[in-house]
Point group: C2
Amino acid sequence: MITVHHLNNSRSQRILWLLEELGLDYEIVSYQRDATTNFAPEILKGVHPLGKSPVLTDGDRTVAESGAIVEYLIRKYGRDRLMPNEDSAEFVSYLHWMHYAEGSAMLPLMLSLYVMRLGEAGKPLHPRIESEVQNHFGYMNEALGQSDFFVGNALSGADIQLTFALEAAKSLGLLSGFGNLERYLGKMHERAAYKRGIERGGQYDLGK
Amino acid sequence: MITVHHLNNSRSQRILWLLEELGLDYEIVSYQRDATTNFAPEILKGVHPLGKSPVLTDGDRTVAESGAIVEYLIRKYGRDRLMPNEDSAEFVSYLHWMHYAEGSAMLPLMLSLYVMRLGEAGKPLHPRIESEVQNHFGYMNEALGQSDFFVGNALSGADIQLTFALEAAKSLGLLSGFGNLERYLGKMHERAAYKRGIERGGQYDLGK
């Protein structure tokens, strides 16, 4: 049985969505963020030493880190779905976006979140953070100018990875002006599998 | 011909190392960081819209984002080297570390670098950043307790990815106390291919 260790309002929501797209059976163990700090609870360290979510167990195998979980599930259960053929030009694009989502796009958002806690004292960093947001979200917005998906003409693991970055940006008020990204996010949210994942996962303020 | 768009003191050094491990021919186009801001020069936007390094071109194909470049090169030219068999348990570990390097380990370092620019004003964030450094580098230190490499008993793309994070941590003075990581980094720096990459790439203060 597949088990998802799921934290509310977190990256683990994307794993529920992916499992629904793949039509797999799974169970959820739920964790709640600390009401004051918004950090993950200490108890998650019992599942994986980093104490982060998502973590997935599949039989005796434990997989942590969003990108690794998405690749693991698609390679094991996707059977030619949600990933382009490795010999195609689109595979290079898939590799790019799969790594780009957490390796690049999330950085200006995480910086925003942290620096926001400083209030006025963080002001000297705002111009750099804003220019990085423009750079990255402008790049993604451009990429979606001619396609409904990040890779080719079909949903892939890259969409699952990137949708979370767009949701996080939206929750920070950083998505307006990027019309293609807003339209894309709306379409992802309309998918039946996405909706089922939200129902199963419970509270997810980022998807609003 | 393979061309690496290489920025001094940056993630592109790892791509030169990988190309040397694979014994491939390649050429380098060099870029220098701005002496005042330490940012990449604007001219890199002519190679890829993000204006970041590394970017690799291979014939008419352009690949950006470290993790994607490493996976691309290993899958195309590695021929069963630097990556475990996809059916093995080690492959899950490979996926984990490949995504973890830029998706998780670099975050507290990038936060450090940014918040450092604020001087005293950034102080309220220091405890959280320090605890994340301890969490992530403690985790990696533990992982290297019983092996010379991150995945199994041989060099893989994951080592290429993670060595940069360790070098960045060392340059910030954050690696002392993590004995396994210091030993590991020393061993990576002794590799002939690593040294050839440094010779080809020129200035690389992070490797000291």
